[in-house]
């Protein structure tokens, strides 16, 4: 494939990123690998000794793991929804950031379901899901939805990468190993940039971006129904599916902004990722914060106003400063209002501030996931008696924290490795001229009487 000068120029700019493994990279990798190894050790202990070494007990049978699961599936929305929609709308400014978004999606969709596995008492019987699967169970809905989602988001990322892989294959003089060169050749599946190939690829990407949007919505709705389908206060809510979907877009946007900020700093991408990106995505974050806040308000207001006993007991724990109060107010007030205020006021809307409030919002959303799961389970219908204190009051153990940190470390590590493999900014896209959008020309009609 002939590579034009513009592309060569852009690639030259990015080649050090994929060629050099500098000291900073190595140290960071070592730290992350150490965390992941520790998480593996925690996993080994859990499998050997059983879930008794976690903080979970009868009553609170789900804890940190499920909160992490919902959280990671949530942030995977960055690539799926945001980059899918931006692609369909042919938004020009998406080009430098879509790969970051799609990386988030693919990595998060792999990590998320791992936490469900960690929550299973008998991992060795995983295959029973295939042997005896019952379509009536929301868990099977989840299995089907998430596997589709993983495959879909992989395809979406891969299709969007083919052009860059072909460019890397056909660029001589890159200081990379033999195997890596071969892998570019293999993965580029003979893309030569002919007109026909180009058209096919473009069509495939468009189709995939159209498919991935409903799949993403379904995945998070089904996930919300795992909670919604139970007779539990705080879970049994009709609003849950859209509430979870909005929370997911909210956190996905937040993580995307954070990742953009990091890469911009680390790889000096100021030329590509500009203030405009932070402004636009910041606006999206603001809108999502507003919708999410609206859902939250509506959910808690209705529960609080009627104060049905079982609901009221859960709410009391949320509002009580001696229990989950601080966390609750942090997640719904700080995590929700701060992005709206900071991004809403033009003076405050700097790149650093947008990234900072994104980080706060993401943290708040993680806390909210925890608050959705734990207080509900700590509030059984029957009085908590003839039971044990630790069964009713959950606090995660080192095993759960280690595996949580392991997931975060894996997320960052996978991100680092992937961005060493292909340029984090799609070279083929940013070197291309502005896409022609199909604008409908409105001809003035002259009415003759």
């Amino acid at each position: 494939m002939e590579i034009d000068n513009k592309t060569k120029e852009v690639l030259k700019e990015f080649s050090p990123q994929i060629e050099n493994f500098n000291r900073r990279f190595k140290i960071l990798s070592a730290i992350l690998i150490a965390i992941m190894l520790f998480a593996l050790y925690a996993f080994y202990r859990q499998e050997k000794e059983g879930h008794i070494i976690t903080g979970m007990r009868d009553n609170v049978v789900w804890g940190l793991y499920i909160a992490n699961f919902v959280f990671f599936i949530g942030i995977s929305y960055a690539g799926a929804l945001i980059s899918g929609i931006l692609h369909l709308l042919k938004v020009e400014w998406r080009k430098p950031i879509i790969r970051i978004a799609e990386f988030i999606t693919v990595i998060a969709t792999i990590i998320g379901p791992l936490y469900i596995l960690l929550c299973m008492g008998r991992l060795d019987r995983l295959f029973n899901l295939v042997l005896y699967g019952r379509i009536q169970s929301p868990i099977i809905w989840d299995v089907i939805a998430i596997t589709t989602y993983i495959i879909g988001s992989f395809l979406f990322l891969y299709l969007a990468m083919i052009r860059d892989l072909a460019i890397l294959r056909d660029t001589p003089g890159l200081k990379i190993g033999k195997f890596r060169r071969w892998s570019y050749k293999f993965l580029a599946i003979g893309y030569q940039g002919t007109k026909e190939q180009d058209k096919q690829l473009e069509e495939s990407i468009t189709i995939m971006s159209a498919i991935i949007i409903p799949i993403a919505v379904i995945v998070h709705s089904v996930l919300a129904w795992i909670f919604g389908m139970t007779l539990r206060p705080g879970w049994h809510s009709t609003i849950f599916a859209p509430y979870f979907v909005i929370a997911a877009i909210f956190s996905g946007t937040g993580v995307l902004i954070m990742a953009m900020w990091f890469y911009r700093k680390m790889f000096h991408l100021e030329k590509y990722i500009t203030k405009k990106h932070f402004d636009y995505l910041g606006m999206l974050l603001l809108i999502m914060a507003a919708i999410y806040g609206y859902f939250t308000f509506s959910e808690y207001l209705t529960d609080w106003y009627t104060s049905e006993t079982w609901n009221a007991r859960v709410l009391k724990k949320m509002f009580d400063l001696h229990q989950y109060g601080w966390w609750f107010y942090f997640s719904v007030l700080v995590g929700n209002l701060l992005p709206i205020i900071v991004i809403g006021i033009k003076k405050l809307r700097t790149i650093n501030n947008v990234a900072l409030v994104s980080a706060i919002a993401v943290l708040a959303l993680w806390v909210k996931r925890y608050l959705i799961i734990v207080p509900t389970l700590e509030t059984p219908l029957l009085p908590a008696q003839d039971t044990r204190m630790e069964w009713v009051h959950y606090s995660p153990t080192w095993v759960e924290w280690a595996l949580t940190m392991g997931g975060v470390a894996f997320f960052i590590f996978a991100f680092m490795m992937l961005s060493k493999y292909v340029p984090i900014v799609p070279v083929s896209l940013v070197s291309k001229p502005v896409e022609k959008t199909e604008e409908v020309e409105v001809k003035p009609t002259v009415e003759t009487v």
Binding site: G121, L231, L381, D386
Partner: protein, 320 residues
């Protein structure tokens, strides 16, 4: 099922149940069980020394011995999933008689070889509001006719049988705990660790769905209405172990329930004593009925007598 209430054979079955009641075992002793209820079971006058599961020697009348329920059940998995034909089991718990003697709990643990910290039955001290009177309420699995737990099981490891019993197949269960969240009553218990304090001989036995023993690490367990006993026409162990006759067990088709020494027409008992089901509003249609705590046999405080410190502590737990 309910429509097919069979009225015939009432009398004979009542006699059967009476007989069963006195025969049914409390503490299961290496291959044999012995009746824990008072009464006069075919006494032979001959005393036999047996060892209980907690290692104590006990002298019992040889007439009280009967073969162990859980160890001789030879029901195929398929049969165990279907249930006992023509039956619809029901339980009535008389709250006016309960004084938290906790014999049901230990009998259940013995019967199912559960470690001491695993209770399939709990006894709650209920008090609906400040002004209402407190009372003791034993809680088993309610074996609902609309079980929310079996609905959500991804692998069909927990299921509803034709005879009304909700069972768990511990060999199929993947341990996702979804059923535990689906059950609003908290009837389900997870096997968080490898069983402690259970003889290796028991653990080595082949697993049996109907006896629920031995419980398998990493899976969910719960009260199972002792289907291995009922299959043999015997009463569940909690029923026979209760010194106060709180538990009545029977068949809705036969319209009969018994606690081993007294037998009632189920419909009459529920009608006369204003029986009810716990939280009817949840729509789960439990198979366990309660008789309200009126004209009580014991003052509520007597339930704290004879409790160990550990047991007392369990009533100081709150979810606040």
């Amino acid at each position: 099922m309910k429509d097919k209430k069979v009225q015939k054979k009432k009398d004979s079955s009542r006699r059967d149940f009476l007989k069963l009641g006195v025969l049914a075992g409390g503490a299961v002793v290496s291959g044999v069980g012995l009746s824990a209820i008072a009464g006069n079971p075919g006494s032979t006058g001959e005393k036999v020394k047996v060892m209980t599961t907690d290692g104590k020697l006990a002298e019992v009348d040889s007439g009280m011995l009967h073969s162990c329920g859980s160890c001789s059940s030879h029901v195929s998995n398929e049969e165990a999933r279907k249930g006992i034909p023509g039956r619809k089991f029901v339980m009535v718990i008389d709250l006016s008689r309960c004084k938290n003697a906790r014999k049901c709990i230990s009998a259940c643990q013995n019967m199912h070889y559960l470690p001491k910290d695993k209770e399939w039955i709990t006894v709650k001290l209920m008090q609906e509001s400040e002004e209402t009177a407190p009372y003791w309420m034993p809680k088993t699995c309610y074996h609902c006719d609309e079980p929310p737990c079996t609905k959500v099981c991804p692998v069909g490891a927990t299921f509803k049988r034709d005879d009304g019993i909700v069972l768990v197949d511990n060999e199929r269960c993947i341990g996702c705990k979804f059923c535990m969240n689906a059950c609003p009553y908290g009837a389900r218990i997870f096997n968080w660790e490898k069983p402690k304090g259970i003889p290796q001989e028991i653990l080595d036995r082949p697993y049996n769905i109907e006896s629920g023993a031995p419980q398998i690490f990493g899976t969910v367990g719960k009260c199972d209405f002792c289907p291995d006993m009922t299959r043999k026409g015997m009463l569940p162990d909690c029923v026979t172990a209760c010194p106060n006759g709180v538990y009545f067990f029977g068949d809705l088709n036969e319209d009969t329930v018994t606690n081993g020494s007294e037998t009632f027409r189920f419909s009459e008992l529920i009608r006369d004593k204003a029986g009810y089901r716990f939280h009817e509003d949840l729509g789960t249609q439990p198979s366990v009925y309660y008789l309200p705590p009126v004209d009580r046999n014991f003052p509520v405080e007597s339930g704290f007598k004879g409790l160990s410190d550990e047991e007392k502590a369990k009533y100081k737990v709150t979810d606040d």
